[in-house]
């Protein structure tokens, strides 16, 4: 009897599964038909997709000024507890900008994939944050986004956008989006302050002084423990520090002009070779960790914090992270670290910039049909750069999330998680263009970092080829980068000599480098001709 019953249950289960699948396959084959014949998935997804309920696809004539405009925005999120429409921060934002917002928070780690899927589905939000990736470039060229080059000047905040950064974000000379600004001159040299004091040294002003500090940190027992257990600068598999230091020596930032006004890649310049010789020297003298070429970059901080290495060449704000860790081991009143600008080299005071932006906000043509609507969206983006909005989205509501004391923002302590959540992730909407908003009162180390980064703006060396979109690079760029990147490391550790490096350059040229140079120069000429 028992057998019979279980037998029937099994049969029922299978029938249920079949019914479910029958329903599924019906939907699936429908999709196949319409997708196959009309060829445009967007035509049949707009209406029926499950999440398009309040995106306001048919936003209609937005003539009556008081009616809030419906705007959907796709931005990355770094958190899992995100605000919704009930958040007072969100409500104030809508009120201030007269909009009805749908913020599509997308986890940063899958952002790139979701962006491509969104592009492919044809159902684009009003505004999305994008980088200059090939699929975005192709979408821009094929009319997915509004060209806003000629509009920016009409807006009080947007007109203040940095022209160099705008140029970097442009595609074929046209500006499609408003960049989200980041510190441009972010780099700095961090030293172990205790070691400098022990040896009676000052942070380096010149490359010679820099070398002397590395030597002293390696051979003069900077930690006064009587053992030969220290070295100068710690570097990992991540080649950032080499990239930064070669700029000090006068090498261009990726591309530089030669005497004929043509662009040449950095590694073909004599300054680059000078820098390389210096690197090789400090490596052979043991001033760099011996295993840098294979070192796990997750362990980069370790030797500095543990008092094995005394110099760190990276972003200036790392001085704070290093200090925090060392304070945890043995607290003291003064910071353990001191951070300065790059030393002055033979070609003057130079340092490497960041790209200065982290994504740009583009406006889709499928959601914004008319120029009038475009003006309203731009007005919205402009308003996001008002000081009120920077404070609101960055710090929350005064009296609820923070207080203002002496012109500085002081966050409320022990806030309820629900109140913190009202604000989480909203700062990803900010572009940081225009007037600077008030911030936190700086600690000594933060004041130092801010000073270095401010001063850096005058000495950073831009990459003249950054705005260009190269077809050759898209094809073989990674191989080209590997050829030179590997040769550089092999040169530094002494596996190859100058002849070997020249051979690598020849290989680079043959692998597509010659075409790459030609293409970049054509683009360069065309851009200059305008």
């Amino acid at each position: 009897m028992k057998g019979k019953r279980s037998f029937k249950i099994m049969a029922l289960l299978i029938i249920a599964v079949m019914l479910m699948l029958a329903a599924c396959s019906g939907g699936g084959s429908n999709n196949n038909n319409s997708g196959g014949s009309t060829g445009n998935t967007s035509s049949n997804t707009g209406g029926q997709s499950s999440n398009s309920g309040n995106t306001g696809s048919g936003s209609g004539p937005a003539e009556e000024k008081p009616a809030p405009m419906k705007i959907s925005i796709m931005i990355p999120s770094f958190s899992t507890e995100l605000p919704d429409k009930s958040s007072p921060v969100w409500q104030r934002l809508e009120e201030y900008t007269n909009t009805d917002l749908e913020i599509l928070f997308t986890p940063n780690s899958s952002y790139e994939d979701m962006l491509n899927i969104t592009l492919a589905s044809g159902d684009l939000p009003t505004i999305m944050n994008v980088g200059k990736t090939p699929s975005v470039i192709s979408a821009a060229r094929n009319g997915a986004f509004w060209d806003i080059t000629d509009y920016l000047k009409d807006y009080p905040n947007l007109s203040q956008a940095h022209p160099v950064v705008l140029n970097n974000t442009s595609i074929d000379g046209k500006i499609y989006g408003i960049y989200r600004a980041r510190t441009l001159g972010r780099m700095g040299v961090t030293y172990n302050k205790v070691w400098l004091d022990n040896l009676g040294l000052q942070p380096a002003k010149t490359i010679d002084e820099f070398y002397n500090i590395l030597r002293a940190f390696t051979y003069d027992d900077p930690d006064k423990n009587g053992k030969n257990d220290t070295y100068g600068v710690v570097i990992t598999k991540y080649t950032g520090p080499w990239d930064i230091m070669q700029i000090w020596f006068g090498a261009p930032n990726k591309w530089g002009e030669n005497e004929n006004g043509e662009l040449v890649p950095d590694f073909m310049t004599p300054e680059y070779r000078e820098a390389l010789k210096f690197f090789r020297k400090i490596y052979s003298e043991g001033l760099v960790n011996e295993d840098f070429a294979v070192m796990d970059s997750a362990a980069w901080n370790t030797p500095f914090v543990n008092g094995q290495a005394g110099v760190f060449v990276d972003v200036a704000d790392n001085a704070r992270r290093l200090d925090n860790a060392m304070q945890e081991a043995a607290p003291r009143d003064e910071p353990y670290t001191i951070v300065t600008q790059a030393p002055v080299g033979p070609k003057g005071h130079r340092d490497m910039p960041t790209s200065g932006w982290s994504g740009m906000l583009v406006i889709s043509k499928s959601k914004v049909k008319t120029e009038e609507e475009l003006r309203r969206v731009l007005d919205f983006l402009d308003k996001l750069n008002d000081v009120e909005m920077k404070l609101l989205l960055g710090y929350g509501i005064e009296g609820r999330h923070y207080d203002m004391v002496d012109g500085y923002v002081v966050p409320k302590e022990n806030l309820d998680a629900a109140i913190t959540q009202e604000l989480t992730g909203m700062n990803q909407l900010l572009m940081f263009i225009g007037e600077q908003e008030p911030g936190f009162a700086p600690t000594p180390i933060n004041a130092q970092i801010a000073e270095v980064q401010k001063a850096n703006e005058a000495i950073v060396v831009g990459n003249p080829a950054e705005p260009f979109v190269s077809e050759v690079y898209a094809q073989v760029g990674q191989q080209l980068d590997n050829i030179i990147g590997d040769a550089r490391i092999q040169y530094i550790v002494g596996q190859i000599d100058d002849a070997g490096f020249d051979a690598a350059i020849e290989l680079w040229k043959k692998t597509g480098g010659d075409d790459y140079i030609r293409e970049i120069n054509e683009l360069y000429k065309a851009a200059k001709g305008k």
Binding site: I14, S25, T41, A120, A139, D296, A298, Q478, D486, V493
Partner: protein, 326 residues
């Protein structure tokens, strides 16, 4: 003794044929299908799954012959024929990539593939149940540790700058071995990492196969005076040989898949000549630079090789009297 209950009354409705009688060998197809209708009902959900979730999206393969842009979609993107295949085969690094991929795949097959089998057989020889279960539970733990962590640990142990292994070697020989930078050590390290991480996990499937070996066979063999080794050779191994052959054929289908993450993490400027494989190349050229079409083309090449290897090995398996996968 449930099995003896007679279902005849129930079954007659469903299966009017007397089950023992099969007078004609050639029945009409329809009758055959009707006879097996339960099997088709069982087959249907799975078949529907494959059609909906595997074959409906299959149109995505055509982008290998396009310059695909997600915004334009498959119908508006430019058709470029076999351009991406030509670029791939004409790539100056193609021969090196192929060589590295094949060697690594071969090492994997020779050294890693047998490891779980040997481990399962060794475990099978353990008679103390609690010890066996404890070992089993411990050795499958690394499967859950991500490759990033494995690579980090490898660095910490092997670095010439204070790594434990090199400190020991230094004590003994006065020298240090640059495991991480020396191209000669790259492949052994990759295989050792994967053996450490996946051997225990791999034993599970063989232990399941071993669990179905009839205990009476062992008892009979012991009575006949067979040694441990003879029992292993004549009872245990044949019992799992079919599983081994199936897994081998399936592994060959993925022969060119070396895995991306592990290799990428272990590659550096000093060992790249031996480290670059198809998977890392596709990642660097395709995913990073958004070249959907190019990476699809390379994937298609790998799949064609895989399907040839699967059907080829399946053919040989059958020829040598084993069951293939079909």
């Amino acid at each position: 003794m449930d099995t003896t209950i007679n279902h005849q009354a129930d079954m007659t409705d469903l299966d009017p044929r007397p089950s023992a009688a099969l007078p004609k060998r050639r029945r009409s197809k329809w009758a055959k299908i009707r006879k097996d209708y339960w099997l088709y009902i069982l087959l249907l959900p799975g078949l529907a799954y494959f059609i909906i979730f595997k074959y409906l999206p299959m149109w995505g393969i055509v982008i290998a012959f396009q310059d695909f842009s997600p915004f334009l979609g498959v119908l508006k993107s430019n058709w470029v024929g076999v351009k991406h295949f030509v670029n791939f085969f004409n790539n100056p690094d193609f021969v090196r990539l192929l060589r590295n991929t094949l060697i690594l795949g071969f090492y994997d097959l020779v050294f890693f593939f047998p490891a779980p089998i040997i481990a399962a057989l060794l475990l099978n020889e353990i008679r103390v149940g609690i010890f066996k279960r404890a070992v089993q539970t411990m050795i499958y733990v690394p499967h859950f540790i991500s490759m990033v962590i494995v690579a980090s640990m490898t660095y910490v142990f092997l670095t010439t700058n204070g790594g434990v292994v090199n400190e020991i070697i230094h004590e003994l020989t006065g020298q240090r071995i640059n495991f991480l930078a020396d191209p000669a050590w790259f492949r052994p390290l990759i295989i050792l990492q994967i053996m450490w991480k996946e051997t225990g996990w791999g034993t599970i499937i063989f232990l399941a196969a071993l669990a179905s070996v009839d205990v009476e066979q062992y008892e009979a063999a012991i009575v006949d005076g067979a040694s441990r080794f003879q029992r292993l050779w004549h009872i245990t191994l044949p019992a799992i040989s079919s599983t081994i052959v199936i897994l081998l054929i399936l592994r060959l289908g993925n022969f060119l898949d070396t895995g991306f993450e592990q290799i990428f993490l272990m590659t550096n400027s000093l060992n790249r000549t031996v480290a670059d494989v198809f998977d890392t190349y596709v990642y660097q050229v395709g995913i990073r630079q958004g070249a959907f079409s190019y990476s699809t083309a390379v994937g298609l090449f790998k799949s064609v090789v895989g399907i040839i290897l699967i059907y080829g090995s399946n053919y040989f398996a059958k020829k040598f009297g084993h069951e293939g996968i079909i």
